[in-house]
Symmetry: C2
Subunit: 231 residues, 2 copies
């Protein structure tokens, strides 16, 4: 792992939160291994989640009818995406591993992180259509890992639970975003209901994450194809 590059995309408002601690643990452990770690702290950056005309510097390809997908694709090719998007794309380009650290909001990532996906992973950069998606996605040879906390308990997110198997809600993130861009996905890292456990158990959650990171580079990606995912 020495020399490997890791980008942590982090979305929590409070440094003292468990998400903040999980992020710090990852920076420490991966740095100790000799990895070079970059953090995009979305709330601190006041990252813009809205996909708008402002993402294109200068003239539009078609100013008669604004099409965000087409315009950002064209702007990417011309090198005229807005600076904040270009900065994130550089970080992604250099990374071997992307870690997304966030609290689950509504069976999904918080809007600020969804905006990162919407704005950074533009056509031409992350994928091409139809030829450059899924196993041919433009970000192949990279790994991604979704690390998050939940409000609900492990029992709620079990296969027979009220909220259904947690794999179900990971489908759009793991397959629809990462696999679509050719990124291989490592098993998610989930801390269930940290607000309802003891301080001691929260500490154990941090230790478990540090432990997992020690052997992360030996892990095999999960299979994200539709046939194998829902069975």
């Amino acid at each position: 792992s020495p020399g490997r590059k890791v980008l942590i995309v982090y979305a929590h408002q409070e440094p003292k939160s468990l998400n903040g601690s999980l992020k710090r643990v990852a920076v420490e452990e991966l740095s100790k291994q000799g990895c070079s770690v970059t953090v995009s702290d979305l709330y601190t950056m006041q990252f813009e989640p809205r996909a708008t005309r402002n993402d294109i510097v200068g003239c539009l390809h078609n100013s008669e009818e604004f099409n965000y997908g087409v315009e950002t694709w064209e702007a990417y090719k011309r090198g005229s995406l807005s600076n904040d998007v270009i900065e994130e794309q550089k970080k992604v380009q250099e990374a071997d591993l992307l870690i997304f650290q966030f609290p689950l909001y509504w069976f999904n990532m918080p809007a600020i992180m969804k905006g990162w996906m919407d704005r950074v992973l533009v056509q031409g950069f992350a994928y091409d259509y139809p030829g450059g998606c899924y196993d041919s996605g433009l970000l192949k040879n990279k790994l991604a890992l979704f690390s998050f906390t939940t409000g609900g308990s492990k029992e709620m997110y079990a296969k027979g639970g009220v909220s259904g198997d947690i794999r179900y809600l990971l489908w759009p993130m793991q397959h629809g975003i990462m696999h679509f861009c050719g990124v291989k996905v490592l098993a998610p890292h989930i801390c269930f209901a940290p607000e309802y456990v003891s301080e001691e158990e929260r500490k154990e959650m941090l230790i478990a994450w540090a432990q997992r990171l020690k052997t992360l580079w030996k892990e095999e990606p999960i299979n994200c194809s539709p046939e194998s995912y829902f069975k």
Copy 2:
């Protein structure tokens, strides 16, 4: 249907888009039926998607460690959420039916709409935990419908297709958000790949939507429970 109230939450940057037309068709058809229709046009409103401390007016419940869920719950009870959130909650409260109109971004709604979910559907207003969720959600007796356009084709989103059954990606929205709040969900309305079809076919898509809306109030909600959803 006369007298019924409908809230359309709309997320597209371009009025001339198919999403813009689908929204207008819904306003026209539902108004013609005698419904009272309100539109939240998120991009025009420059709706804030980020869940931050700014959503709470005045002092925090715990300023030592910011917890968005707890703070917005407390602020809701005190009546001290930010005005833009309160406005949206009023619209939701009055509505019999919520229609979400958007282009699918990354197997999901655009970040600006996800931010609407994150910020508007706060604890105490939309649900309580653990007693007031799913069939006991606080927004029961309301209906919701996800109406959206896709980039990928119907074949890609079929059960054996590369992107998997489109029902899979609707799970977090339909079950994780709407059903969690007690809202009953009508079948989604999906326009597949409008950018790849003829102008004639796009017109037919608008006609089909208007047609469906004529008998919408007679429709039965779909079953969103985990056991029935994935089979």
